[in-house]
C-alpha cells in the first residue's frame, strides 16, 4: 500500500516531527519558561531539557503541591492566590487535552515515540518479540499508573510541602522520569544522567531513574510500550478522557466475538476492545494509536472520530493492504514487485 495511506506511518512521521520540536524547539519558541507553549503539556516533554519547546503538566503540579499548597496548608493560609496557580495549570492542561484527548500519548509523547522506535529496531534485529503480555500480568500492572500519579505527583510533593517528608520527595516523579534522561540526552546534555550521592533519598531516586531507563532500553526492543503502561500521564489522561474531542467507537457485530484482531494489535494489551459491546471503547490505557481500527477486518466496526467527524474507519480493503504491509515489515513476506502494492 502507498506509504502515505498507512496510518501507522503517518503516526510515526507525526511522532518524529513532534519529538524534534519538543526536544529542540526553544529555537523557535524561546528559551524561558514563560516562552513555552503551555507549561502544562499533556505528554512527557521535559523542562530539564534546556532546548525544550514545552514541558509536561506533571512538573508544575509537583512544584505547586510541594512549594505552594503544602506550605499554605501548613500555615493555615488557603486563599485564592494559593490555589489559582494549580487551577491555571489544570485548566491549561484540560484545554489542550480536549483537542486531542489521549492521542497526546500515541502521537506526540517523546518517550512513547522512543519506545516504539526501539521496538522497530528490535523487529528488524529479528529479536523474539512478546506481542501481547499475559492478561493476568496486564491486570497486575494497570493499577501502577494510578499509584504513580497519586503518590509521586500528588501525595509526596504535598507531604514535602507540609514538612512530613524531606525535600528529596518534593518532585519525586521528575526524579525518576525516563523522559528527563531521554530528552536531555537527545539535546546533548549529560547533566541529567547521574547518581546523586548528596543524600540517601536522592541516591535511591537517581538509582531508580537510571535503572528504569536501562530497563526501558532493553524491554522496548521486544515488548510494546513498557513504560507507558505505568505512566502517571496515562492515568491523568484517563481521568479526563470523557471530555476529549477525539473518540474511539465500536459498532459491535456478532463477527467480533470470533475475531479479536483489534485486541491483538493493541500495543497496550487492552483486551476489552475485543470483548466490549459498548460504543465508547476509549479505555483508560488507550493511547489512541489507531492500530485497532487499522487491523479491524470489518467495514465500519471500529472508528476513530473527531467529535462526530470520522478520521479513520475500519475497512476490509485497508485491512488487507495494511496486514500485508505489516508482514513485509516483519520480514514474513517478501515485498511485491508490482508498483503500488506492499
Amino acid at each position: 500500500m502507498p506509504i502515505w495511506k498507512n496510518l501507522s506511518v503517518i503516526r510515526k512521521v507525526v511522532q518524529l516531527l513532534t519529538f524534534l520540536f519538543l526536544v529542540y524547539g526553544s529555537v523557535f519558541v524561546g528559551f524561558y519558561s514563560a516562552d513555552k507553549i503551555s507549561g502544562a503539556f499533556p505528554a512527557l516533554a521535559c523542562a530539564y531539557d534546556a532546548k525544550t519547546a514545552d514541558y509536561c503538566v506533571l512538573i508544575p503540579l509537583q512544584h505547586q503541591f510541594g512549594h505552594l499548597l503544602g506550605p499554605a496548608i501548613s500555615a493555615g493560609v488557603f486563599g485564592l492566590s494559593v490555589i489559582m496557580p494549580t487551577l491555571t495549570t489544570l485548566i491549561t492542561f484540560v484545554l489542550l487535552f480536549v483537542l486531542l484527548n489521549k492521542a497526546f500519548c500515541g502521537w506526540l509523547c517523546p518517550l512513547g515515540f522512543f519506545q516504539e522506535v526501539l521496538g522497530m529496531i528490535g523487529q528488524k534485529l529479528r529479536l523474539n518479540r512478546t506481542e501481547s503480555l499475559d492478561s493476568k500480568l496486564v491486570e497486575r500492572i494497570r493499577p501502577v499508573k494510578w499509584l504513580m500519579l497519586g503518590l509521586l505527583v500528588i501525595l509526596f510533593p504535598l507531604a514535602s510541602g507540609l514538612g512530613f517528608v524531606g525535600h528529596e520527595l518534593g518532585d519525586p516523579f521528575c526524579k525518576i522520569c525516563p523522559s528527563r534522561i531521554l530528552t536531555s540526552l537527545a539535546a546533548g546534555q549529560l547533566n541529567q544522567l547521574y547518581i546523586d550521592t548528596s543524600s540517601i533519598g536522592f541516591m535511591i531516586l537517581s538509582i531508580i531513574a537510571d535503572t528504569m531507563f536501562g530497563l526501558i532500553l532493553v524491554l522496548s526492543l521486544t515488548m510494546r510500550q513498557p513504560f507507558c503502561r505505568i505512566c502517571p500521564m496515562l492515568a491523568m489522561h484517563a481521568m479526563f478522557r470523557k471530555v476529549g474531542l477525539v473518540r474511539l467507537v465500536k459498532n459491535y457485530t456478532s463477527r467480533c466475538d470470533k475475531c479479536g484482531l483489534c485486541a491483538k494489535a493493541c500495543p497496550m494489551d487492552i483486551k476489552e476492545i475485543h470483548t466490549s459491546k459498548e460504543k465508547d471503547i476509549l479505555f483508560p490505557d488507550c493511547t489512541l494509536c489507531g492500530r485497532c481500527v487499522e487491523f479491524c477486518p470489518d467495514k465500519g466496526v471500529m472508528a476513530m472520530k473527531y467529535a462526530v467527524i470520522p478520521i479513520k474507519v475500519s475497512d476490509p480493503q485497508y485491512f488487507k493492504a495494511r496486514n500485508q504491509a505489516q508482514k513485509v515489515w516483519e520480514g514474513k513476506k517478501k515485498p511485491s514487485r508490482k508498483p503500488g502494492k506492499a
Binding site: 524561546g30 512549594h67 544522567l193 547518581i195 548528596s198 535503572t211 528504569m212 536501562g214 526501558i216
Partner: protein, 257 residues
C-alpha cells in the same frame, strides 16, 4: 597636562564601580515565602538613582530600609530588573540585577526585559539562567555587551567573584562575552541546599568621545552539582538496568517455552 591626563585615566580606571548584591539574610538562608520582600544592597552607590522595572517595562517604586533596597512583590510573575544609574556629566554609571518574582503571569517573555535598553552601556545575559537552571561553577555563561543598543566587539570586561576569583575577559567580534564561571567554592558539602551561592560581578567600561561609561551586571552562582552527582555512575546503573532487562526477557522466554 600630563599629570591631568594621568589623573583622569587613573580616576576612570580606579573608580570603584557600583554593583548590586543581596542584603544579608536576617534568618538562615531566608524563608519559604515566595512573596516576601527581598533586600539588596547597592555597593559603592552613593548618589545613584535606582528603579525596579517589571516584565512589562513599567517602573515600580522601591523602598530603602536601613541602607537596603527592599523589593516587594509587584503582583507580577517573572524577571524584574533592578537598575541603578549615576552620572556626573562625563562619567555615566549603571548597575543591573535581575530578580525573579512570583505573582500573576505577566504575559511577557523575559527576553523583553533582558533586551530592553536600561542604560547606555549594558551587559545583557544571553540568555539568563532560567527558572529551572542556575549559573553554576565550572560552566559557561553567555552575555552580550551593548552600547546604545549596538554590540561592542573586542571590549574588555572584568569578572570577579565573592569567592576571590578575578578574570579579564573580552567580547568577540559579535559582542558576545563567554564567561567561564570559576570553580572557586571552598568547603563544598554534598547537596545544593548545603552550599551558599556566591556572587559574580561583570564590569564593562567604554569611552565615547568625551564621555566614559561603566556598567556592572551581578548575579549569584552555585556550586556545580557534579561534586555529588556522578555521570559515570549513572551510566553504569543504566547498563545494570539493561542487564536486568535482559535477564527478565530471557526468563520470560524460558517460561513461555
Amino acid at each position: 597636562m600630563g599629570a591631568t591626563i594621568f589623573v583622569a585615566l587613573f580616576s576612570f580606571t580606579a573608580h570603584a564601580e557600583m554593583y548590586w548584591s543581596p542584603a544579608p539574610a536576617k534568618h538562615g538562608h531566608g524563608g519559604h515565602d515566595r512573596h516576601a520582600a527581598k533586600g539588596f544592597v547597592l555597593n559603592d552607590g552613593e548618589g545613584a538613582r535606582f528603579e525596579l522595572l517589571n516584565p512589562q517595562l513599567s517602573s515600580v517604586a522601591v523602598e530603602r530600609e536601613h541602607g537596603h533596597v527592599m523589593v516587594k512583590s509587584t503582583g507580577m510573575d517573572n524577571y524584574h530588573a533592578l537598575v541603578a544609574t549615576r552620572g556626573d556629566g562625563r562619567l555615566q554609571e549603571s548597575a543591573t540585577r535581575y530578580i525573579y518574582m512570583f505573582g500573576k503571569p505577566s504575559g511577557e517573555s523575559p527576553s523583553r526585559i533582558m533586551g530592553f535598553e536600561k542604560a547606555a552601556l549594558e551587559i545583557e545575559p544571553s540568555p539568563y539562567a532560567r527558572e529551572h537552571w542556575r549559573y553554576l561553577s565550572a560552566t559557561q555563561a553567555r552575555f552580550l555587551v551593548r552600547y546604545r543598543g549596538a554590540v561592542l566587539s573586542n571590549t574588555s570586561v572584568m569578572m570577579r567573584t565573592t569567592n576571590g576569583s578575578n578574570s579579564a575577559l573580552k567580547t568577540d567580534a559579535d559582542g558576545v562575552l563567554t564567561v567561564e564561571l570559576p570553580e572557586d567554592f571552598f568547603n563544598i558539602k554534598p547537596g545544593q541546599m548545603e552550599n551558599r551561592p556566591g556572587e559574580f560581578i561583570l564590569t564593562a567600561r567604554h569611552s565615547d568621545g568625551g564621555s566614559d561609561y561603566i556598567t556592572t551586571f551581578s548575579s549569584n552562582y552555585h556550586v556545580n552539582p557534579e561534586h555529588w552527582q556522578s555521570t559515570s555512575m549513572g551510566a553504569g546503573v543504566v547498563v545494570a538496568g539493561m542487564l536486568i532487562g535482559g535477564v527478565v526477557l530471557v526468563s520470560r522466554r524460558r517460561k513461555e517455552k
